[in-house]
Symmetry: C2
Subunit: 291 residues, 2 copies
């Protein structure tokens, strides 16, 4: 709040005009949870199960076979390469409109294995309030996530109040085609852009073309976004969410495979960035807490 006052008070030396009040938010682990694995990975696994009847060959093919047997641990053992292969097999080949409908349907019904809640219920209430508070003070809020941009856009406006044009994420290539005289965009099995780590400042520059004055993240994948934000002139806010509550949520940092927070934690300490300690700082994590 001290930062917001500094940049919004017209008499302040650090005053920032409304159009330049850009705030960027990581999604996984910053706006919603990301354990025991990225929620988009649950989507991939559910899609494999749905599509299996059309792909009898998957029964013999790792890591698809492990997913179909319900052996998540074996499926994840294939690492990023296997996950990317499964993402391509489930996220491409259809039009953008068809994919939008698939995501919309899944997000409205799929439940998290631990909490049995909708994934969109597993958003951090303090961050939802922060988004609204910043917007009430003239900020434009953006998501800058390693997640798939077309996996997020169907629901971010309703859940976070962030419209699709303010969502930046990883993407695959698409191609304009005419199908029976109707123009469509077909999703191709080829990466277009990976919006993570050093890709985040690149994505911010490509998409926004203006440096954020505030950035929010939770992992080493957000470090370059923080550095890019901090390097601008004038007042800056860099805030890391530190997952410290094993009881109400999950506790993980330096050694976690998902959302590793190691170099970022060191740099946050050395640079004096704000670090939120979930266990001690957040009275409520999820709206359903204690219900």
């Amino acid at each position: 709040m001290a930062f917001v006052e500094k940049v919004t008070k017209e008499s302040s030396l650090d005053f920032v005009p409304v159009p330049e009040r850009i705030a960027t938010f990581d999604n996984d682990g910053t706006l919603w949870a990301e354990q025991p694995m990225y929620f988009q990975a649950f989507f991939v696994f559910d899609r494999i199960k749905s599509l299996a009847p059309e792909h009898p060959e998957w029964k013999e093919k790792e890591t698809f076979a492990s997913v179909l047997k319900g052996d998540v641990k074996a499926a994840l053992a294939g690492g990023e390469h296997a996950l990317l292969e499964m993402a391509m097999a489930t996220h491409t080949g259809m039009t953008t409109e068809e994919f939008y409908a698939i995501v919309t349907d899944w997000i409205a019904t799929a439940k998290h294995p631990k909490t049995k809640r909708l994934y969109t219920e597993m958003v951090y209430q303090p961050m939802i309030e922060l988004l609204a508070y910043l917007r009430a003070n003239g900020f434009k809020t953006f998501i800058v996530s390693g997640g798939g941009v077309e996996f997020m856009r169907p629901w971010t406006e309703k859940i976070y109040g962030i419209p699709p044009e303010q969502v930046i994420g990883s993407s695959i290539k698409t191609k304009f085609e005419m199908h029976d005289g109707k123009p469509v965009l077909v999703r191709l099995p080829e990466m277009n852009f990976v919006d993570d780590g050093a890709g985040k400042p690149v994505g911010i520059n490509t998409h926004i073309g203006r440096r954020p004055i505030a950035a929010f993240g939770n992992s080493d994948g957000d470090l370059q976004m923080m550095q890019w934000t901090a390097a601008g002139k004038g007042a800056r806010l860099c805030l890391y969410v530190h997952h410290t509550d094993a009881e109400r949520e999950w506790a993980y940092d330096r050694k976690s495979a998902v959302g590793r927070f190691d170099k970022g934690l060191d740099e946050a300490k050395s640079k004096g960035w704000t670090v939120v300690d979930i266990k001690n700082d957040w009275k409520v994590i999820f709206l359903f807490d204690g219900k």
Copy 2:
């Protein structure tokens, strides 16, 4: 105005909520002039002249040598390949901040060879009024141009009222690096995305993630954007600017090398899209007309 009333009147069957009122505008030939060649080509030529002392080899190298001799016709004879080579030589190798400063300096001082006016004075006054009118009716206005996104962003907010995050254009790749402990984005001599023709719906989808309900262009390079816009449900406005005034501006269409308007003109007629005839429909073209 009939279209705007239809989509903004709450009792209308075609009512569109504010967040979905997306309007996309081509830039060259639609918002500002584009003859005798794209204004960004003048920028390229001026950059070659400025950088020539550091590149003695350019004196012997076509098409650089023709540019240095002031022979524009010979320079353009090299076609798109030569222009791309010259663009890469003049648009890359520096940081994004350095390039921003170069463009800002050029656009503030360079003059058009025919009118002797600043390029930013050669914007179409009726289109400036249209942008303001749409925004006053809750539309979000975007540029979707084949021009370089970082060539446009330094001045679009001041001239058109369109902030950098609502400018979509062609781009080169950039790379995040640390220079003496300071993070920078370095511009690389490699195309990232060509936002023209079938690339326009792709760029719109990547960047906005929502289909426009109104689109404005002037050439065949805008045709797929028009088709994509027209194919959505509900009321749509597709408007082509037709350059018909050889006296106050330029007259060109089906056979022009710059801004060819041939297939687009046929499809506009067959689909009943709006075609503005500059000579007969625009009382004022540039604000400096008659001065």
